[in-house]
Symmetry: C2
Amino acid sequence: MSDPLRELPRWLETANAIVDETRRLILDAVARGFAHRLKADDSFVTDVDVAVERHLRARIAENFPGHGVIGEEFDATDAGAELRWTIDPIDGTHSFRFGVPFYGTLLALLHGETPVLGVIDMPGLSLRVSGARGLGACANGAPLRLADADGPVEREIVATGDRAQFEKAGKLAHYERLTREHPVVRTYSDCLGHVLALQGRVGAMVDFGLHLWDVAATQAIAPEAGARFVCLERRALAGSDAHHDVVFGKPAVVERLLRLLA
Amino acid sequence: MSDPLRELPRWLETANAIVDETRRLILDAVARGFAHRLKADDSFVTDVDVAVERHLRARIAENFPGHGVIGEEFDATDAGAELRWTIDPIDGTHSFRFGVPFYGTLLALLHGETPVLGVIDMPGLSLRVSGARGLGACANGAPLRLADADGPVEREIVATGDRAQFEKAGKLAHYERLTREHPVVRTYSDCLGHVLALQGRVGAMVDFGLHLWDVAATQAIAPEAGARFVCLERRALAGSDAHHDVVFGKPAVVERLLRLLA
């Protein structure tokens, strides 16, 4: 049987090309203005989230017939496929709605349950991180390979979500311990913290209560970028969804955080 | 007696031109790499902080003879002058040292004790906000005039410093109240939060324990940008320095935060 991932290099190239298109779509919408509303779960959704996910699904169907899709705004397709794409059209919609440029598009490919390709695009910062198994990672086209902490790990910046995110995940004690025990914690939530950790700019990120589409791209890119990625807990939810509590970044900083949160 | 501020338009133009120079200096240093060390107060300083402040002081001396200077890295000059410039060469040195692009140069002009001109430059984000009394405010050259909150104020993002900053200011109770009571609080500390609040992207910022050079530029720009600026407390320190606890941003959001922190 031939390797089901033999076309991964071409798929990564295609995924990046598709996300070039959604970046233009998003920046056009920012320039033009867009509508927003609150969803049943009290989070924002905008016309742009929906348009970007539609665009990604159409391009995936064209380019990857037979692959499944799991996205934030619509039902999953081909849920039983060996290869499935996960989509978060706009991660950080709250920032996006208010014009804070810390939002992004997340696209990942799962082989079975394992993320093997990831693209994180932040149009508002002109920043893209991508990678795939065995192919390394890139930031804006340049190879990305982070060095471990080269100084005291307690000085490194740790990114995390806000208090409400930990509260919703039932993990307020972890938030309290993190913000009390580590001297430099910043709520660089969503893809902002993910990208900064993959670049080694923040030492690590602690992110709780994530959907698969929030975490799959980072999980695929992390080992290729030299980052350690640890899933502390995966809580099953209704349907095929689950919540993931994760820590990732420079190995020495992740090690410190695992001890601190244990 | 002639108006001592009659030349404010020219001074604002000159200040922006000088900060164009420090932006280049900073971006060159980022590309080249730079040395860093810990100061006595356990905060980082880099070769770049020192070089930028020297450059600003030299240009101020050339362009504004007779004006005083108050800066973070060197002693004040002409402390008794009617017009004094305040300098924070790199606000957010901790971010700068680690490559997180959320640092900036702050330059302001005081008339007596009152800030009347401010420039905030963020080289890592290619973002500049500036303004002066009666001359309006600009973001990257475009007029900046923020609208008040156009939706529920409790949905607006509030920027703040991290827990350690409140602890150092002896105001931990304020931090606890803020992060518990407001649903969306992000530690967009230093000039990042200042710029986002002046742009109306975050609803407001709560920033405690600031030096004069951390706050003067924002205080000068805020009324010109349509933002409300409130100093909750000013604590005298040794010499002419003081710590400022401030809240600024969209009037309706500032109002909510004043109630919440009262």
